[in-house]
């Protein structure tokens, strides 16, 4: 299967400069980006498989001596290409705040407690159907300094490789019904309503484990679609 990467698909992405998110003002290119063809250098990309993953990498509640505090959740879904074909054997990495909204990173000075039983990093590889699954705790909201009384909606950071360096995606998964959505300039940097909705996981009652954990589904669609005879 040979994939192509239509650039029109990138219309779903935020613009580099999105002034409501203040840090973009000095960290976005100001000169026009140069259009270049997709060569072998772009159409290939890092391949990481099961050898990159250790036991319990995908269960963030089992990485320390005790269990972390917070609401235990299952986060699962499929990684797909633009034709909705599964992306198998690809690495999915996540990182997140703890249930109180605090990251273990030293730069995070939010006065909420760290949890000695939670780091917040996870990793897994999709199976042949493009399926992945994590067990974690629901991250808390937390304040940031973008504007007065700014709070980030609950989110989990995702990093996915896909079939090439062009399908590489770093994004954030949000939770349904978050009251902070209208006020978050990072979430709203995606200007298309339907595209924004694709960053929100859905509550998955069918896969909730009774007496144990709620479940959220988050399917990710990466760049790349099968080459058709019309092209090239």
């Amino acid at each position: 299967m040979t994939l192509v990467y239509p650039k029109e698909s990138l219309s779903a992405y935020p613009k580099h400069l999105s002034p409501g998110y203040r840090s973009t003002i000095k960290r976005s290119p100001s000169k026009p980006l140069i259009i270049i063809p997709h060569t072998l250098s772009e159409l290939t990309g890092p391949v990481y498989g099961h050898e990159a993953v250790q036991e319990n990498d995908n269960d963030l509640t089992k990485q320390h001596k005790g269990e972390p505090l917070g609401e235990r959740i299952i986060v699962h879904g499929h990684i797909l290409d633009e034709d909705k074909r599964p992306v198998p054997d690809t690495l999915v990495e996540i990182w997140q705040a703890n249930a109180c909204g605090r990251y273990v990173h030293v730069v995070d000075q939010h006065p909420a407690p760290l949890d000695p039983n939670f780091t917040g990093a996870g990793r897994t590889v999709t199976d042949k159907n493009g399926y992945y699954k994590f067990i974690t705790v629901k991250p808390g909201a937390y304040p940031w300094r973008n504007h007065p009384n700014a709070w980030r909606p609950n989110h989990i950071h995702f990093s996915v490789f896909g079939h090439s360096f062009l399908s590489r995606l770093v994004t954030q998964m949000y939770f349904p019904g978050d009251p902070l959505f209208p006020f978050d300039p990072i979430f709203n940097s995606v200007t298309d309503e339907k595209a924004r909705q694709r960053m929100i996981s859905s509550f998955d009652l069918d896969n909730t484990v009774p007496d144990w954990a709620l479940c959220f589904r988050f399917d990710i669609v990466l760049r790349g679609r099968e080459q058709t005879p019309m092209e090239h």
Partner: protein, 204 residues
């Protein structure tokens, strides 16, 4: 209409997950040992070719160092082959992945130890000069930005089909400058995200 999942910023707190062994001091004394997926040393015992060091500083529109960026690189081996199913030529350096990550330190500095890549096939059968694909992520970047690193001591740069697409007065921003240090070739590659002498970034 596009149906891909939108990009969001990597944020300031990625290091404990994505670059846990890096120079960035993210860690309180947690005792948590998170294996890194890929670090800043790409060299494997079986990798043939010239060992090189790549170093640079990334700065913002005020010229201030970006101390919370992640730089990823993707490259061919010394024979110009990519470790990827799409490149079906034989791979003599089977363990060389060609992928690395470096988080910037408090001075905005990143660095990689790797081998110099060979020339790789380009459009219309024309070879591309040796180069490395560079992808940049940071707080304040809602999506990754792509650029390329070329080498100052490569005469093939003059005929590279991608460099030819860049205005001549801006090509230099993609050329890492060779320096010798302690008997090793160090290529200096500074990235200016915005403003005067802004690095060329690609719309791909």
């Amino acid at each position: 209409m596009s149906e891909i999942t939108p990009s969001q910023t990597v944020g300031p707190f990625f290091a404990y997950g994505l670059t846990p062994k890096g120079v960035c001091q993210w860690r309180p004394n947690s005792g948590f040992d998170w294996k890194e997926t890929a670090g800043d040393n790409l060299i494997t015992p079986d990798a043939s070719g010239e060992r090189i060091r790549i170093e640079g500083c990334i700065t913002d529109g005020d010229g201030a160092p970006i101390n919370d960026a992640m730089i990823e690189i993707w490259q061919a081996d010394a024979q110009g082959r990519y470790m990827h199913p799409r490149d079906n030529r034989s791979i003599p350096n089977a363990r060389f992945k060609g992928f690395g990550r470096s988080a910037t330190d408090k001075s905005g500095v990143f660095g990689f130890s790797t081998v110099k890549p060979g020339a790789v096939p380009g459009p219309n059968g024309k070879a591309q000069a040796p180069h490395i694909v560079v992808c940049i992520y940071s707080r304040g970047m809602l999506r990754q930005i792509y650029t390329r690193l070329y080498f100052s001591d490569e005469s093939a740069n003059a005929s590279d089909p991608i460099l030819a697409l860049i205005p001549p007065d801006r090509r230099d921003t993609l050329v890492a400058k060779k320096q010798m240090r302690g008997g090793q070739n160090v290529y200096r590659f500074d990235i200016r995200v915005q403003g005067k002498d802004e690095t060329v970034f690609f719309d791909i």
